[in-house]
Each structure stands twice: as structure tokens, then as C-alpha cells.
Amino acid sequence: MEHEKQGFVSRYIFSFDHKMIGKQYFTLAMSMGFIGGILAVLIRLQLGFPSQPFPFLENLFPVGMASGIMTPEFYVSLFTMHGTIMVFFLLSLLPVSGFGNFLIPLQIGARDMAFPFLNMLSFWTVVPGAIIIIISFFVEGGAAASGWTAYPPLSAIRSAIPGSDLGQTLWLVGMIFFVASFTMGGLNFVVTILNLRTKGLRMMRMPLTTWAQFIVGILGLLSFPALAAGALLLTFDRSLGTSFFLPAGIFIGDTLMPHEGGTPLLWQHLFWFLGHPEVYIIMLPAMGFTSDILATFCRRPIFGYRSMVYAIWAIGTLSFLVWGHHMFVSGMSPFLGSLFVVTTLAIAIPSAVKAFNWLFTIARAKIHFTSASLFGLGVVSLFVTGGLTGIFLGTNATDIQLHDTYFVVGHFHFIMAGAGLFGAFGAVYYWYPKMFGRMLSERLGKIHFWITFVAYYAVFFPMHYLGVSGMMRRIYDPNVYEYLQPLQPVNLFITISAFVLFAGQLLFIYNYFVSMRRGAPATANPWNSAGLEWSTPAYPGHGNWEGEIPPAHRWPYDYSEPGKKRDFTPQWEA
């Protein structure tokens, strides 16, 4: 089939091809993740060496790092933007928008997404959002500084702190672009998966990655409207002087604010009604990647496929009933709190189902240790570690003690950020041959894994001790409290580990970009995988399959069937 001649612009910029759009998302998300990583390094710099001068940084941030010492205002902006960029622009864009776009049509046997134009539009809607978020660092007052959760009144009153001014406005505008883009993407995902599957690909024959993307699409469509409504009200509060989130009697300095009648708790409800499903929007794709990767490299069918699907459904459904566990200390009725404890701990059941199914898939298998499978195993490890600490935070009696301490920071960096990130890394190592027609360097990949894995535990595990010892989550300089001073060596250790962790990621970036040109050419199915996406040519063009779309004769996990010559039977073979 002949390829239509395409110019540079229609091929690489305003492309309709779902694979190119997916790769555009990768580039965007990795750039944003790199910036978010630099912010993390700066945060750790302050905590490891509190208020010590680093004169060379003054050139980069003349206001925030005047004479090389970080100002508290700048520190607050740093962790706010680190959270925002990482949660929304890396961990949502890379696994969901990036891999969702790239993989869904390949895995379900479709030529493209249902609505390619909308797909292109959704990418070019999120780009201005990302740019606005970055620009906010360079405006008067600096970037937003109310935390990634943007709680009012800090986020609602322009004169509250320097970051509450233009920076917070740009934060809101950027988020509105993001929500619009994510909604368009979600519509495309759900409709494509329901309507465009190839012959024979029943829902219960779909790979778990596609199942996860399907549920993620639904979660996004149901949860992001709450944030959109909140953002609309917050924009009004900020720019038109309404009081939706502002009660009477707020003083900024000596000035009494004219607002009355609103309630700041309303924002917390709206935000967390999105916020909790959002962490599963990040986690579920990683779970899907891990299932596909572990099955392939253990050469075993995934254990308990049906229960895996039901667990995804259960997690998705329960995620809408637990938002209150972020608000245990907001003064809510203890009875209501108990209800949220029950729903929260109920999520442990489907989560444990998934963890045990992975363990049964691994058990007594001859694992092929590739970079992808190592990262897949890393997800299981981080998921269990983070899951166990989640029980302490999901129970209101212990959460009241641990709330807003470094225990929380350690917990969510394991389960949501860590497992999500490791899942995305594993997926890149696994599907890279299909993305660029070349292989990544396995040697660099394995070095990257071990640095990342060890450094990740070294950074985030000690944070639990800091939290139990009472170090606050968003503190600028812990040494102002005498009881936190003995913890300084731990903070220094974490900071050094964080530098190592960041340096390790440079290896990945090098590997990713250099292998695009110089990697060994890939075959159509380099891992001997059974999934439908591997029936495409080594570097599929627009339209994915040269001839007819292959039908699906089976599920994608037929590995090591007894009595067969090959140790796998592809999905497209009868």
C-alpha cells in the first residue's frame, strides 16, 4: 500500500496519526518531567543544605535565589509547581495520553482513533497549558504557591502571598487547558475501545493495558468536571470578587477582606472528588503495563485475567467514594470520617488481588530479565511498599497524627508517583521497538533500572521516619525547630540520593534519544509477544497494518502452552 506524500508539518506537527500524536505526548511529558525533576532537586537542595548560599543559582533565579539563598516564597512555589507538573503533565500525559494514544488502536486492531482530528486537537490544547505553566515562573510574584491542591483562601485572594497573584491565575488557566485536552482524549479513548475493535476481539479478550486505559478514560470523564467546576468558581473568586470559597472575616495583613458567605471546604471537596480518581488515572495504566510486561517476560499467561479486569473496575468505582480521606483533619464529622475509612480500606482488596495475581504470574517462572521486566517487577515492589503505608493514612485515627508530614510525601511517592513512573519506564522499554523501529540499549536500560530502583528507595523510604518524627510536609527549613535538628543527617542523605536519582534519569534520556537513530533495528516482534500490536510491521506507517487488519482469535496471554512447539501463540493466529 503506497504512502501518501506528507510534508513535515502534516507528518510531525499537525499529524492525525495516533502513533505520532502519542510520540508528541512523550516528548512533551518528558520535557515537563525533566523540569519537574529540576524543581525536585532544588527542593532537596534547600532541605539538605538549609539556607546555605549557592551563588551560581542566582544567575538562573535572580529573585527566588537572591545572593544564592533560596527565599521561602520561592521554595513554596517550587513544591507547588513540582507537584502540578509531575502529577498532571508527566504522570497523566505520559502513561495515559501518550501510551493510550499509541497503544489503543494497535492493541484493539484499529487503523486509528475514532476521531483523529479531535485527537490532534487535544494534543495542541495541552501544549499551551504546559507553556503557560512554565511561563508562570517568570511573572511578577513568581509561580503559584498554594500547593498542587490550590487550597483557598491562599489560592483565592490575590494579595495573600506573592505567588497568589498572577502565578496562581496562570496555574488556573493552564489547568483549564489541561482539563479540556484530557476530556477530549478520554472521549476518544472510550469510544474507540467500545466501537473500533477488530473482529473477534471481545472485551474479555482485550489486553489489560487497554482495559486500564478504558477505565481511565471513564474516570477522567467523570472526575475532571468537578475540577472544572471548582476552577470556574475559583477564577470568579480571584478575578471578579465573588466569595464562593471565602467566608467573612479573612484578614490579609491588617486589611479585612470584603468577602462573605462562602466556604473553603467546598474547594477541598471539589478538588479531591477529582484528586482521588486522578491518582488511579495515574496508577491503572501502570498496572496494565506491568501485567502485559510480566506475562511476556515470565512466558506465563497472566494469572487470574478475569479477576484482574474486575479489580480494575472495582478500583475505578471505589475511587469515587474515598475523597474524604484527604480531609480527615478538615473538621469533618468523625462518623463521616469512619465511612471514608471503610471505603478507603476496601480498595485494599482489589489492589491486593492485583498484587497477588502478579506474584502468581511470577512464581516459579523463568523470568527473562530485560529492562522492561525489571521495571515491571519494580512496580510490584513499589506498589506493595506504598500500599502498606496507605493503610496508616487511610485510617483516620492514625492519619490525624501523620497528616501533612513527610510520611504522606513518602507514601504517595511510592504508590502513585513511583509505581506510575516505573510502569511508564517499563512500558517505554517494552514498546520502544514499535515506536521507533529500533531497540533501546539493554545495558544502559539495566544500569538505569538499578540506579533508579536503589536511589528511589533511598530517597523516599527514610521520609516515613521523618514523618513519624514530626517533620512537616511543606516546611521550608526544618532546623527552625529544635526537635527536628537531629534529623538533618537523614535529610542530607535523602538529598544526595535525590541527586543520584536525577542523574540516573539522564541515562534514560540519552538512551531514548540516541537509540532513535543509532539503536539496533527492531524486528516486528522482538520480545515474542502474543499481543495484537506486535502483528504490525517493525515500524508501522499511518494505518498500522499494510493489508487487512488481523482478527483476534484468542486473548493476548497465550504463553508456554503445553504441547506446542513455540512458547507463545500470537493473538492473531487461529
Binding site: 484499529a110 472521549l187 469510544v191 468536571p225 467546576a229 468558581l233 470568579f236 465573588t242
Partner: protein, 201 residues
């Protein structure tokens, strides 16, 4: 492969789920997510109203007869829209276009009445930062909820204008009319909730 070839490529999956095209399915999912946006605003209104206490009696601020008339106009436009969709399905483009134009007329009347309602409200002292009747959030929620709904009606009118003009040019498809109709019914249904929850309760 060219873009058109991909768009026309058949898929081999047999009967599509729920027996609908992806376009219609996408419109349904969009309606769900948009409905939740309104739900977010209406729930916020409920929370703030309960937390505030001094909420004015709506019938003393608004003329409920006037609002009921607006509701009647909008629901009537839903009926004409349904007739338009049916006519399009039966393959009578001229009748369909006539009903779509009637629907557009209903939309414009509604928007005009809403503009008049706003001007009276503002003239009586209702503002974005406060009002003479009670909690300032009362007028604030009035503007944001009815304004956001009015914005949806305006969008719907624009969509219907596109449908009507395309029908006049002969570029018309029953499925397109039906999707526009789905959106229009949704906008009307949301108004019923706004009417009940903001004006009556």
C-alpha cells in the same frame, strides 16, 4: 495510507456495542461529562446555601411566572427539535430544516428572555459582589449558574444554525441532526434542574 482511506476503513468487529455509531456514543459520553460539570456547580450552590443561612426567598426576587414561561419556551423547542430529528430520519430534509429553524427561534427567545431577566436583576441591585436580599453568594450563584447554562444554550443555537445552513446547502445527514438534537435536549433537561433547584426549592 491516506487520511481519507483510514477514515473510510471498515472495521471488522461485527455489530457495534449498543448498536450505535461512535459519533452518537461520543455525544452521549460528552453529555455525561458536561452534566457532571453542571452537577458540580449545583452541588456547590447547595453546599454554600446550607452553610450560609440567610438565603432570600426566591419568589420575592424573581417573577416565577416569567421563569416558568422561559421554561415553557425551552421545553417547546425540545419538542420541535424531536420533530426535526424524526423528519430527518424519515428522509424529509425540508420538514427537518423547518423544525430546526423553529428550534433556533425558541433558543433565541429563551436567550432574549434571559437577557431581560438579568437586566432586571441587575437593575434591582443584584451584583457579582453582593445584593440587597441576603447572602452575596445568592447573586453570585445566580450569575454563574444561569450564565453557564445560557452559554450552553448559545452554543446549542450555533450548532443548530450550522445544521440548518448545511441542510439548506444539501449537505445534511440524519445522524448529524440527531446528535445536535441530543445536545439540545440535554441543555433543556439541565434547565429543568436549574429551574427546580435554584428558583423553586
Amino acid at each position: 495510507m491516506s487520511q481519507t482511506a483510514i477514515a473510510q476503513a471498515d472495521w471488522g468487529g461485527g455489530a457495534s456495542p449498543f448498536g450505535v455509531t461512535w459519533q452518537k456514543m461520543m455525544m452521549w459520553f460528552f453529555i455525561v461529562t458536561d452534566a457532571l460539570l453542571f452537577a458540580g456547580l449545583l452541588v456547590s450552590y447547595g453546599v454554600v446555601r446550607i452553610a450560609t443561612g440567610d438565603w432570600p426567598t426566591q419568589s420575592e426576587v424573581f417573577s416565577l411566572t416569567y421563569i416558568a414561561t422561559m421554561t415553557f419556551v425551552l421545553i417547546t423547542s425540545s419538542a420541535t427539535m424531536a420533530c426535526g430529528v424524526k423528519a430527518a430520519e424519515l428522509g424529509r430534509p425540508k420538514t427537518a430544516a423547518k423544525f430546526v429553524w423553529l428550534t433556533i427561534l425558541g433558543g433565541f427567545i429563551f436567550l432574549g428572555m434571559q437577557a431581560f431577566e438579568w437586566s432586571v436583576f441587575i437593575g434591582d441591585g443584584g451584583g457579582i459582589t453582593g445584593n440587597p436580599w441576603g447572602s452575596p453568594t445568592f447573586s453570585q450563584f445566580f450569575f454563574i449558574i444561569t450564565g453557564f447554562h445560557g452559554f450552553h444554550v448559545l452554543t446549542g443555537v450555533i450548532v443548530l444554525l450550522v445544521v440548518a445552513v448545511r441542510a439548506a446547502m444539501g449537505r445534511y445527514s440524519p445522524a448529524g441532526v440527531e446528535n445536535a438534537g441530543l445536545y439540545w435536549h440535554f441543555v433543556d433537561l439541565v434547565w429543568v434542574f436549574v429551574f427546580a433547584l435554584f428558583y423553586l426549592v
